[in-house]
Structure formats: structure tokens, C-alpha cells
């Protein structure tokens, strides 16, 4: 019987992260979630998931901090096992016009959303290459592809993610490791559904040919496909999942 593969999902308790974590567990992976050290509700989430039959490993990791990422991944690999799959899903927004944006607002988003990809992937890549098998999925955004008013920091970080994906994909292609970006559009997470209905209906939904928000489970489904053996020929790709909102 094939050994159960271990997947780490950063930001695994968030709106998208929870779907990714639960669907991957349903698909048979051993899932470890990371959460922000400032998250005070992590225990409640773990208990809620236990009630639904999920036994996640959970670790507080400041993904914006290289040293913390390094220490925590050592801990995960010691306590759970070698990491086969990394989903770089953690991300924050600090939305405001460029005119109002401070260096701190820029740095926070760049460090959490982009540096995190380097910080976490660096800890797992040697092992994946040594075992000749690995999957890294970097979660970008439609706004990394097309830009968005009020998101110079977020758009830059999300766009930068794909540059990282392409370069690393070239380096490890012959080692059985694939690196891919996914670019979700507007997905029905708590953050998005909190947007006032009149703005959602008048400004956001009209941009989406499918006429609806994406479901977090649909993003999870794409990630599960990319993790499969059958997706071994997909690498360096940026897969849009946006209801047709942005095509190129």
C-alpha cells in the first residue's frame, strides 16, 4: 500500500485554507496546517475539525520570518514526517491607494505573501528533490495577473509568486518535483461575502462571466488535481480559476 503523503497548508485555517485542508484530507493526504502566531482562535478551529472527523497537525508559523519557518518545519518533519506537498496559501491584504500606502503596509504584504513562498519552500525542497517526488502549489490571485485598484502591494506580491514558480520549476523539473501557481478570482470566503451586497452585485459580479463567486471547494479541487500523480507533466503553469473574469 502506498505511503500516505504529507501536505502542509500555510494559512490552513482561513476561508480558503479550511477548504483546502479538509478536501485534501478527504482525498487521503495527511494534512498539517500552519496558522499565524497572532491567531487566538486556533484551538477552537482544531476542536471544530475534530468534531467533523479531521485530525490535523497544527503549528503556529510566522511565514514572513525565515528563521521561524525553518525552526517550525524542522519540528513538523520530526513530529509528523517528511513533507511531500507544500501549499503556500497564507496571505494578507492591506488595501489602500498607493498615495496612502506606507512602507510598513507594503512590507507587511510582501513579507507575508511573497517572502513566505521562499521561506517555506526553502525548508522542504531539498527533501523533495532527494526523494524524487514533490508538489508545491503557490496560491496567487487574479489580481496578481491583472492588477487591482488599491492593491499595489498585493498585486506585486501575487505577481511575484509566479516568477518564483517558473524559475524554481525549471530547477527541479528533472527531480520529480512540480511547482505551480494557481490564480483564484473572487471566491466565496468570509472575507469576500462580507463585502456589502450592493457592491458585490453592482461592481464585482458583473465582472465575472459565470455570474457567481467561486466556491472554496473548487479551488481545493484544482489543488488536489495538481498534487496527483497524473499531473506530473504540469509544472511552471499558472492556472486561472476565476469564472472567466480574466483571460489571456
Amino acid at each position: 500500500m502506498a505511503q500516505q503523503k504529507i501536505a502542509v497548508v500555510t494559512g490552513g485555517m482561513g476561508g480558503l485554507g479550511e477548504s483546502i485542508s479538509t478536501k485534501m484530507a478527504d482525498a487521503g493526504y495527511k494534512v498539517v496546517v500552519t496558522y499565524s502566531p497572532s491567531n487566538t482562535k486556533w484551538k477552537g478551529w482544531i476542536d471544530e475539525m475534530k468534531g467533523k472527523g479531521y485530525a490535523f497537525g497544527a503549528y503556529p508559523v510566522d511565514v514572513a520570518d525565515f528563521d521561524d519557518a525553518a525552526a517550525k518545519v524542522v519540528q513538523i518533519q520530526k513530529e509528523i514526517g517528511a513533507i511531500d506537498i507544500l501549499v503556500n496559501n497564507a496571505g494578507i491584504t492591506r488595501d489602500m491607494t498607493f498615495k496612502k500606502m506606507s512602507k510598513a503596509d507594503w512590507d507587511a504584504v510582501m513579507h507575508t505573501n511573497l517572502d513566505s513562498c521562499f521561506n517555506m519552500t526553502k525548508q522542504v525542497m531539498d527533501g523533495m528533490v532527494e526523494r524524487n517526488w514533490g508538489r508545491v502549489i503557490n496560491v496567487s490571485s487574479v489580481n496578481g495577473q491583472k492588477g487591482a485598484f488599491g492593491q499595489t502591494n498585493y498585486s506585486a506580491a501575487k505577481a511575484g509568486i509566479h516568477g518564483f514558480t517558473k524559475a524554481l520549476a525549471l530547477e527541479v523539473a528533472r527531480k520529480g518535483v512540480t511547482i505551480n501557481t494557481i490564480s483564484p478570482g473572487y471566491i466565496g470566503t468570509k472575507m469576500v461575502t462580507a463585502i456589502p451586497k450592493e457592491i458585490l452585485d453592482s461592481k464585482i459580479l458583473p465582472q465575472i462571466p459565470l455570474g457567481r463567486l467561486g466556491k472554496p471547494d473548487e479551488v481545493a479541487g484544482l489543488i488536489i488535481y495538481l498534487c496527483s500523480e497524473e499531473a506530473a507533466f504540469v509544472t511552471g503553469a499558472n492556472i486561472s480559476i476565476n469564472g472567466g473574469q480574466h483571460m489571456y
Binding site: 520549476a169 484544482l222 503553469a237 480559476i241 483571460m247
Partner: protein, 74 residues
């Protein structure tokens, strides 16, 4: 339960058919240009098609999904 019907045009052919007629030294040169270092298996292309046909892929539309072993990245 609703049954969905898939129409596959050219369903009797095979991805490998045309490739087999290319001279070996040229084929070797082509494969050398693919970062993964091999050609795709037809089943890998089929798996992507099957995924896109699934309910879970209902939010993917208008996309151009590269499945090329890293040969061309955009």
C-alpha cells in the same frame, strides 16, 4: 442522478501516433528541450481533460492550461 454524456472528437486516435513517426535523433533533441526530460503520457493529458470535465472545475473557464513539462511558461 443525471448522467452526463461526453463527446470526444478524434477519440480513436492517440497522442503518440504522430510522435512515433519523428526520427529518433530529432525526437531526442525535442525531449532535451523539455525541462522534465520526457514526453507526456497520453493518460496525463486525459487526466487534465477529465478534471476539467468534473463538477469541481466549474469555476475554470476561458483558461489556457499549460501541460508541457515546463517547456513553455507564461
Amino acid at each position: 442522478m443525471t448522467r452526463r454524456v461526453a463527446l470526444v472528437t478524434g477519440g480513436m486516435g492517440g497522442i503518440g501516433t504522430a510522435v512515433c513517426t519523428i526520427q529518433k535523433d530529432l525526437l531526442d533533441k525535442l525531449v532535451a528541450g523539455i525541462p522534465i526530460g520526457r514526453m507526456a503520457q497520453p493518460a496525463e493529458i486525459a487526466a487534465l481533460v477529465a478534471f476539467l470535465a468534473s463538477e469541481e472545475a466549474g469555476y475554470i473557464t476561458g483558461a489556457n492550461i499549460a501541460i508541457n513539462g515546463g517547456m513553455y511558461m507564461t
